[in-house]
Amino acid sequence: MNAFTIGTSALAAGSRGLELVGQNVANATTPGYHRQAVNLVSTTANGRTGTGVDVASITRYDSPPARTAILGGNATQGALSARLAVRQQVEASLGSGTGGVGGRLESFFNQVGQLTARPDDSAARRPVLAAAADIAASLNTSAADIDHLRADVGGQVGQVVTEINTYAKQIADLNTRIAGVESRGDQANDLRDRRDQLVDSLSQRMDVRVVNQPFGVVNVMGTSGPVVVGEFASQFRAAPDPAGNLVVTAAGSTRPVAVESGTLGGLLQEHNQDIPAARARLDGLTRGLVAAVNQVQATGLGSGGPLTAATGTVGVADPTAPLAAAGLPFPIRAGQLVVGVTDTATGTRTNSTVAIDPATMSLQDVAGAITAATGGKVQATVDPVTNALRFAAQPGSKFDFAGRDTNPAAGAAAADPDTARVLSALGVNGLFTGSTATDIAVRPDIAANPGLLAASRTGQPGDGTNLERLAAVRDQALGGGRTLSGEFTDLAAAVGSDVQTLGDRQTAQAGVMRTLAAQEQSVAGVDVNEELVHLLNFQRMVEGAAKYLSVVNSALDSIMNIIR
């Protein structure tokens, strides 16, 4: 008689079912938990007589297609979020409001325009120089902010790589444990849940896909190589290459690991491409500003008139190498430089024209040519320490590059006294020093003595024609066919557009991820109400089995009573 066996098997199966309902309800809000259910089968003896019920297996509900899509979506989402955060900071660093570079540029040229009304008012020159210093300061600040941001992003890359290494190790460890359990024929459902969670976290940081192996083991593959194979985890490191770009390599290999997306992919793209690109545009803008403004300043005259000495602020690497190969920040063209030499005693002025060809002439050659052309009245030399060009007038002489008519007059003034652009290229008598957003500054002696600001082309106090040329720089199309402030606006708008696009894509991606999560939940998630129905079911089963056993017991009692 197997009525007792049947009853006890029903009690055992029912209580196992109750346990699982409890486990499901307890983990209804646990992230990554997959609901489980008992699979009951009827048992028979000899294939004929029923012997009760048994728990054949426990099903862990999962949805592999949804999971694969979620892993891919995680990587996209991670990259978008990382890039959005960085782009927003670049946008903030550029300072696009009135206090930023664009506003400062406008303000500088407005001040220059206003000074044309009173070029003889030395106090009115201060605001122009202050505005120039503001431009330099705002460019310095923006550049420093962007550089700090890049360093920060580099630090984040290191952190993310460490996290990836930790996750990979943990996944490999879980692989080992799961294989241990499942090779014995048991089910390691809770370990699988934990491992899925780790793979999920990993996929937010880099793009991976999962390949299932026997005994519940998974291999995790990146775009260009394995991350976890069975119980072995790759370990990565990020290090800068000679160009300063961060390259991720796996331990024991020098081959770069391609990371297309995920937080790491997004951060690498920002660090290696997008931030340097924004920085380069800022430097390009600075170079355009410095070259154009310095050229105007160098070919004008300050309120003190011609100069007795001038020193360039840009040095060459080798004063005997041709200028075209000297690596100057501003190129020198083939052309000429007109040096006006004034005799301080008589007031007579002569113009000496020096032909300059950067392809053949070195800085030494240029210095020699200037000294020779002026008959030694202006001694041009190369500074032995800085390798910059130096001008010194002999006693009784002064020099300038304004291209004025000679005295006594002998024709017309030179329209462009420096067609070679040698003055701005070598930083002679410029308004700004430096050539990048980091090192641009107002030349210290002009900041200290505003009279050096070249307002005129004739040296007369009421002449503001050089200021007019300076004010016209703002409307000149520089590199890229844009004006200075146009270029800055375009840069700010491009970054702003990135922020908006990335934000929109992130929102859209979040919607996709919600849908995918809902899909996965519809299979793997715990519905408490459903579990309560199962609970009632198992409750009835246990109650029924108990009642059954009690009835069987009474029946047996009755039979035993016959004997008594």
Partner: protein, 305 residues
Amino acid sequence: MNVRVTGQTQTNSAVAYLRQNAAGLAKYQDQVSSGLRVKLPSDDPAQYPALARARAAGERLGAYAGTLAAANTDLNAGVGALQEATSVLTRAKQIAVEGADAGTDQQGATALATEVDGLIARMLSAANTEQDGAYLFGGTATGSPPFAADAAGNPTTITYNGTADRGRGLIGPGQTVDTKYAGAAVFQRPGADVFQTLIGLRDDLRNPGAGGKSQAINARLGAIDAALDAVGDTTAEQASHLAGLDALQGRMTDLKLTADTRAGEIEGTDYFDAVVRMRAQENALQATMAVSAKLLQPSLLDFIR
């Protein structure tokens, strides 16, 4: 169709929509409170370049207003000085007529000559007029008096020390107005030299030549008229520039207003739109809250007794 909707699905979507609607509400709340729709380029990248241009144009036109005002002051002072020169020459003409009159004896003529000395000094002072520390008739040499007499009180020659170029101010993109005129072209035109005419008149009055004073002085009348014409020409030129500046100032003000309005239109909050949208977001948020509260409550537990 998902037939199984779990608690986590409901919670996740409730949280997501609450966040989304709260963020939308915050965005419009910020727009309404700050009055600005575009604070950063990313708020409206397509319109940002137009905004930057409009803002720059507004500030630039504002800066030109400053130079316009300075030019206006200079030209007004110039016209004032030239009017003084005209009245000096007019008086000189009266003196010349009086001196040429046969009824004026030498004593009277000498008295008139002394008055002409005063007129020369007045003319010199008019030609050396300063405005805010800058000489108006020295061309670009604004730092020193343009006209110098060889002797005080009884000068015989007046030298021009200024430049032949005029000083000018930038009043628009590539647009300038001459404000500091070259004095030589005003007071010392060939054939219409104001100072030489006055000096000659004085000398004729004081020391009439062999031909008699009437003849000499009558000859001076023509020169005085030529000098008056020369000064009158410049006065007319400066006055017409002044009128032009007034018109330009009006146009600049209009243009600045247009630019500022354009900037305001782009960056400013459209209150009707923003308030209505804020209201809609608020409703959406409240609805999400109400629905979340309602949906998350019912459970089979309520029915198992």
